[in-house]
Amino acid sequence: MANALSIKDLKKEYANGTVALKGVSLDIPEGDFFALLGPNGAGKTTIIGITAGLVNKSSGTVSVFGSDINTDTEQAKTNIGLVGQEVNFNPFEKPLDIVVNQAGYYGIPRSIAIPRAKQILTDLGLAEKMDKTAMSLSGGMKRRLMIARALVNEPKFLILDEPTAGVDVELRRGMWEYLTGLSKKGLTILLTTHYLEEAEQLCKHVAIINKGEIVEQGAMEDVLKRNESSTNTDSKFRGGRLEEVFIKLTSEK
């Protein structure tokens, strides 16, 4: 079985000299719910940007279901759905139009895209808002609209870059339930989040990145067991198991 995402020795240096990735290698098996965790500025969004075609890599290879993103770009992109970190749709458009247009960019005709978009928007609780302008949506609704937009091309690989940032607890739980349902149907999901307890519960595999390097990766339970014994106990506060491992592996000390 081909990996949904295969990254080999990926390096990225930005024009201002910032080295974001120092040779990252990563494999995400098909059907996995994979957590890519790291502190702010660790390189998570750069990996996602390169995979989705929004950032140019310096060197290394990235392939999606066996299709190289540079030599077989169209096929690689056909398999991807992206929910970016920032809200990036035209607020003057209607949610239904935003989702249907996104389908159009993948070559899906409106006769198929419109009912599909309505179904996804309804599933995500946006049925009543689909004909209002997107600027009238709340923060949580905008996040759900971005998920709807990423799903309309029926991707095999969904990338979620902090999809629940700023979303309240109830809505977040609803979003996780929805995405877990999609994962059970076979959708491969790559998730970055700062809600580590949720990542611990949801994800089968995890990679932790710090300063452009993968410092730990593997099955969630294996990673926890490998690192639990020596977690930082100096702090007055103690989080969940993954949080303690995360702090230990990414701490400046």
């Binding site: 989705a52 929004l54 607020p91 935003i98 159009g104 960019y105 070559g107």
Partner: protein, 260 residues
């Protein structure tokens, strides 16, 4: 993507832009119509009656092709430069297309077509206004030449606007080019006068201005007379289109000014 999927993607980009154009018609269509009406009133009716004839026709009739072309040029240019920059800089909604399998050449075609539609629609409105000021005595020598030159000119400036939109890093960069490059080129390209009325040196300078060739061809379609042979205008147009398309393709393919 197969041919049908490419068509769907192209249609999506064009439809989205045309819907936007009509949704904000007060901003997209009306300004050029008002400006052109003022030009016709001042340069055509008030001053034109004192100028007499140019290339064998009265000044109002002479100036119509230039003003129509002026509207086509500015609208095609500003449509692509502004919409692309806006989607790149403010909303980052250009990512919707960049993450999709839509190839760079089709992205160019989609944005340029939006600019062409706006340029041609506004140009047509200005032509209708001119009919009013010329007392419905609008001279048309060859409607085919008018249409072809109108579309090709819109393509040229939509492509130029796209280069500006892709490469611009600030709103200033979007405004500087039309103000300091496009407007002088257009006004000095023969909108309001025949190149033969200029001193010899100024004529040579005009010959290196690409806008001159566009207005020349367009005017030929209206009046049946031109400053230079029509085939030269065609050759220059196609040459500019090829160069601008190549620049756009390179910028978008490599992500220069677009991707980090």
């Amino acid at each position: 993507m197969n041919t049908y999927q490419l068509w769907i993607s192209y249609y999506t980009m064009l439809r989205k832009d045309v819907v936007r154009l009509f949704r904000i018609w007060v901003q997209t269509f009306l300004p050029s119509v008002i400006t052109s009406a003022l030009y016709f009133l001042i340069f055509g009716t008030v001053l034109g009656s004192r100028i007499g004839t140019m290339q064998g026709v009265n000044y109002m009739t002479f100036v119509v092709p230039g003003l129509v072309m002026l509207a086509v040029i500015t609208n095609a240019y500003s449509n692509t430069s502004f919409t692309f920059f806006q989607s790149k800089f403010f909303m980052r909604s250009i990512d919707e297309i960049l993450v999709s399998p839509t190839p760079p050449w089709l992205l160019i075609a989609g944005f340029v077509s939006g600019g062409v539609v706006r340029g041609i629609l506004v140009g047509t409105l200005v032509m209708l206004i001119s009919a009013f000021f010329t007392g419905l005595h609008l001279t048309i020598a060859n409607i085919g030449i008018i249409f072809v030159f109108g579309v090709l000119t819109a393509v040229v400036f939509a492509l130029a606007g796209l280069v500006n939109g892709v490469y611009a890093k600030s709103m200033d960069a979007i405004n500087i080019v039309p103000t300091f490059v496009l407007t002088p080129m257009t006004y000095l390209g023969g909108v309001f006068y025949s190149v033969h009325s200029l001193p010899q040196f100024a004529q040579y300078v005009t010959y290196v201005n690409p806008v001159f060739y566009l207005i020349n061809g367009f005017r030929y379609g209206f009046l049946g007379v031109a400053d230079i042979a029509i085939w030269i205008s065609f050759a220059v147009l196609f040459g500019i289109i090829a160069v601008l398309f190549a620049i756009n393709w390179y910028l978008i393919r490599t992500g220069l000014g677009l991707k980090q």
